[in-house]
Symmetry: none
Subunit: 217 residues, 4 copies
């Protein structure tokens, strides 16, 4: 059913413009209130139309989330892939990927928030199977950077790569909860600060820190 709408979706999300507007509206609401708590009428109200009218543009609320997430993940993967393809070496690659991620937070905060907060639940639905697939891709990509770095002696060899990957991934993406593009720190500032900590730690450098710290005053 809904042949016309379906056709348009097939045709790519350029066209109408109205589509993109509605999607952006929905994304912001999903991000702010949560996917389940956002009603179709909330979206329609924001667009100044009646809830039923939304179904001229989208098959369902789920489709909206789908389109939003798919677009976000595709864009993110493209970016990551380009960085990796540049072959900058583990350290620079890591820095570039982190910086790119913070820029994504700056440019697509709603999408990132949805990815952070809703992906886990949505991934259970068949149509969102690609979420887990993308997660696997991203994990591999990250682990390769880290593993290469360790092998090349750029990163410490005592690292638990899986753990480091998770820490980085989480820290970066959760920043969407507080990062404010209008604030004093640019996305690149934040990235630099984070990379500073990640690479060199917050401790001062008198001597190498032992596994279990002895008492310092």
């Amino acid at each position: 059913m809904n042949t016309r709408t379906a056709k348009k979706r097939q045709a790519g999300n350029n066209g109408s413009g109205r589509r993109a507007e509605l999607l952006a509206l929905a994304a912001r609401l999903f991000a702010d209130r949560g996917y389940v708590s956002t009603t179709v009428r909330d979206i329609a109200d924001a667009a100044g139309i009646l809830s039923g009218s939304l179904y001229h543009h989208f098959d369902s609320k789920e489709s909206m989330a789908d389109e939003i997430l798919r677009g976000f993940l595709d864009g993110l993967f493209d970016t990551y892939a380009q960085i990796v393809a540049a072959d900058l070496g583990p350290r620079n690659t890591l820095e570039a990927v982190v910086a790119a991620s913070f820029r994504f937070i700056r440019d697509h905060p709603a999408e990132v928030a949805i990815y952070q907060n809703e992906a886990k639940h949505l991934a259970h639905l068949e149509r969102f199977a690609y979420i887990d697939e993308r997660n696997v891709e991203f994990r591999n990509l990250w682990r390769k950077i880290l593993t290469d770095g360790v092998r090349q002696g750029v990163f410490r060899e005592d690292l638990d790569v899986e753990l480091v990957y998770r820490f980085i991934r989480d820290t970066v993406w959760v920043a969407v909860r507080w990062y404010n593009p209008a604030g004093t720190l640019s996305a690149d500032d934040v990235a630099q600060q984070y990379l500073g900590i990640l690479l060199d730690g917050i401790a001062t450098r008198r001597r190498r820190t032992k596994k279990t710290g002895e008492t310092h005053g």
Copy 2:
């Protein structure tokens, strides 16, 4: 309304036990499916009773979340306060607080998950105003540790304390999403790994890393 039940609750969660059971059940479901997506029937089903019967123990679904979150935040704050009171110096305090947090994730995963995923939305409700109050307390506590450390030369002086606080807070708590108590890594293992990275970074130590890294191969 529900004066009788309320009275009992006030009196402490002595006796019943059933209360605690139900609360634990609810917490797990809230954590797994999200607060809004968890129906009262889900909880009742899990407890083997009818949904209406839950209201013999609790005033509302909201009260359950309230009780869960309140208990969690009180417990967490007590723990933090004890550590701070021990006056171990910034570095050891930081290590102790991080370790304690991972132990909370191990021991109260559902509560932590609810705090992570639902607190933001619930905090809008008047009855959950204490969430924001606690957040302020925690922020002050963390910032003091970091600020003291910088002043004492234990932590680098070029740190943006607010940013570091956020990175730590987020990284630690988001770990609830993947930390598995039944896995090979103990909570303390994870804490040590994280502290290792946080304090000393992941980079190897040939030379001090510059602010803006030139190309290292």
Copy 3:
């Protein structure tokens, strides 16, 4: 079921005293909030016990209303019957019945209110069939007084007896909504005022009022 309780009820409502207390409590609540809007727990709360415990005394909420209404109607009928038996003549009988009614309002405001507000709905239930029976008795009683009065020339012969009966009945009983025993007017005061109006009207007595009043300044 509930043999013991049933036995006690059979035995007459003297005994316990607790029974009467509870019934009085229930009556007041039924009167104030309405029968449907009064919950069994409201009554139990007022009595300082748990709602389930009420069922030691009464079979059901309906039984309480039943007992209250039955008692009220029996008492009222006894009173009316005694007045009629005194054979005072239509006018004095009418005055006595009106006065007795206002005294009932003073002494049993809750019961009267329940009769006024709930009887209509309860009467549909089989167990409350006696309500309509009583209403018929009362109607006959009232109509006889009026008819006798007309026949004896004490009351105007152009009266529509049925209508007069309804006007009197309604006006008297609805007074339960506003009559305040603690106020300045005694029940007998109110009765006298009403009888004054009912018997002689509120118009001044220049001349007999015509059926359709011409214009008076």
Copy 4:
């Protein structure tokens, strides 16, 4: 919420018609079964739709009662105000107001019944505060008629105006419980009968009735 619907309501009950239909249905049910005992499903069933569909037209069950009562009280007040404005003198004004009231009973029996039976309870809710305000207005209006009449010597000077006002008000409105528009008596017949009694009393006119009646045979 339900902004759209609300907007339409504001705009006047033009167009829809459906709204008015549903409201009339609801009014009849509220009147017959009582407000609390009438379920939203009852109303929907009567309208041949599902209960949820009612919420396309109204915000809540309460709103329906609100709209019904508000409309009724506004209409009634307009009518009374016009009569008062005609300045017919106390007696004719009283007659006109009584007659108008019985016509309201004839034309809007459901609304009157709701006013009689439910207003007291609803008035406790903030949104129904206007009920008490209207009651005050009506009371003033009635008392003025009576007071003027007494001052002009048209009504007896020994009247307790407040009491007379209450008797009239109650007698008139309670008639909604039994008045049947399809019966032999027209609303104006009933009004005339009642006015006959109210003005001149039911007693025959040999002599002025004394305060306390001596024995007549």
